[in-house]
Assembly symmetry: C2
Homo-oligomer: 311 residues x 2
């Protein structure tokens, strides 16, 4: 029993998705974190190794998203266990790709597998959310839910939490451009206004309805017309040098739609094929290079399964 | 040619539909207006008869929604014609059932038929909207679009106008309770706030996305959870004595969801069968009778065709 080890891949996620602030998110096939959980005969929970974070992520278990999520789950089970955890970060902190959600989700999926799956996957969300809360200072499930479940996810309500995995007939490709600087999620939220014009809200929910309809009905032209955020993108665009030029280059290269991933600085762009996604990525990278010294690019289909056991 | 006559049925419509203020609407099989258009060898356009309006609707063709819509259409065609018009109102003014939209839509559908269908049905919308604007002092298409096209309609955008007929697999039944007093649409709009809390807007667009997903995916429990308007209903409910009690009686009688139709005072409630719709209607009528002296009830499936030629 002592040597039992579980390794989990937890995908990066794009939240907000144009007009769908706080309610829409989807998972990617790459990048993603890896969480390795090892049963130990020594009591207590220890983080033994963190890589890829440039020494930024706390080893202190009450500060770390992965271990906070694990502790909540163990408390719910009223369960005591010895655990050793390794966290391999493959995406930057403050990237807008749901880095903290991935660690939290990866940890609870690994623990659930390790102890014989006492919980259904959906039920793991509440534990992962407590981890996510430590990192982002607010409960938002639009990274945690798609990271856990895969696919395109709607968070209809937060109180009570109501998560719906959208059954999308089409396979979309996603290009991600990740400028190599950080945006702090909780600070990015503070820039948003407490009140918004009613008129803009109507425009936004018209686009939200159009986006969901387009996705479910496989009407990509409608998806394209609807991927328009009049409330959050205009504020957060200011945090990304040259954002509108990068977006324009994506659209000119044939993207279905392009916006900020999460609170940025990553930018996502949809397309219909890997070839298009590559061409769009090259155009975005070239445009970004005028004002941003270094960017990374990822090309991925939408991940269908969510966090999964890889060893 | 002189005796050619066209008669059109233009259905009542429910706009707003819970969280979908200004962007969602659907058509009913009853009630509805009838518009009779007769070619005349006497030049000009005349309203010869209006019934069911208690003398309230203007005969002056530049003030009447039906003739304003007709005049816009004729101007677009650069066409001169002699016309006699009869308008039979079967729903009250200020009922919240899209009365003015029905007259405008009925008129343009009748004219299009009379002159050999120069326009596709979708194209008639812009003419009907000019008529609607005369009555409600603002351009909102959430009655005109479902009245014209039938079914459940999304108005994703107003500028440019972008109307999508939702393909809904399920047949919903609708109970309408129409309290016999009037609410003026333009005055009801003035009660709404220019700015709203961002938090409430997020709740609203989560529900809009849930409602559309539930309708398209035939998930009536999701429709039920999503039919929740946190922004407009709380303000407009004050205009309808006992609104929350009536709503509660509908929900207790098994309704999927209940809210104000348009700007009220009509109230709609969804259900899965005619039998349920009747039972819900009885409960609502009984509850309403405590504070409202007279109500009318209608039970209808969702109309699938929109305004149609009946003679």
């Amino acid at each position: 029993m002592i040597s039992k080890t579980i390794k989990v891949f937890a995908p990066a996620t794009v939240s907000n998705v144009g007009p769908g602030f706080d309610i829409l998110g989807f998972a990617l096939n790459k990048p993603g974190d890896e969480i390795i959980l090892k049963l130990s005969n020594k009591k207590g929970i220890r983080i033994t190794k963190i890589t890829g974070d440039k020494g930024r992520i706390p080893y202190e278990i009450k500060q770390n998203t992965a271990t906070v999520a694990i502790l909540t789950m163990l408390k719910k089970l009223n369960f005591s266990i010895g655990l050793e955890i390794q966290i391999k970060k493959n995406m930057g902190l403050g990237s807008g790709l749901g880095s903290s959600a991935a660690s939290a989700v990866g940890a609870v999926v690994a623990l659930n597998e390790l102890i014989g799956r006492p919980f259904k996957k959906e039920k793991l969300m509440e534990f992962a959310l407590t981890g996510e809360k430590i990192a982002s200072k607010s409960v938002h499930a639009d990274n945690v839910a798609p990271c856990l479940l895969g696919g395109f996810v709607l968070i209809r309500s937060y109180n009570p939490i109501d998560v719906i995995k959208l059954k999308i007939p089409v396979q979309l490709f996603c290009t991600i451009i990740h400028p190599q600087f950080e945006i702090n999620t909780s600070q990015a939220r503070k820039l948003l206004k407490k009140n918004i014009p009613f008129k803009d809200a109507i425009t936004q929910w018209g686009n939200v309805a159009g986006l969901v309809t387009g996705l479910l009905a496989n009407d990509l032209e409608l998806v394209s017309r609807s991927l328009n955020d009049v409330i959050v993108e205009p504020i957060r665009a200011k945090l990304i040098p040259g954002f509108y030029e990068i977006k324009e280059s994506a659209m000119n290269a044939g993207s279905i739609g392009c916006s900020i991933s999460g609170s940025g600085p990553s930018i996502f762009a949809f397309s219909k094929s890997h070839e298009e996604a590559s061409r769009i990525g090259s155009a975005m990278k070239k445009s970004a290079s005028k004002q941003i010294s270094k960017t990374r690019m990822y090309i991925s289909e939408i991940n269908k399964t969510g966090a999964s056991i890889i060893d």
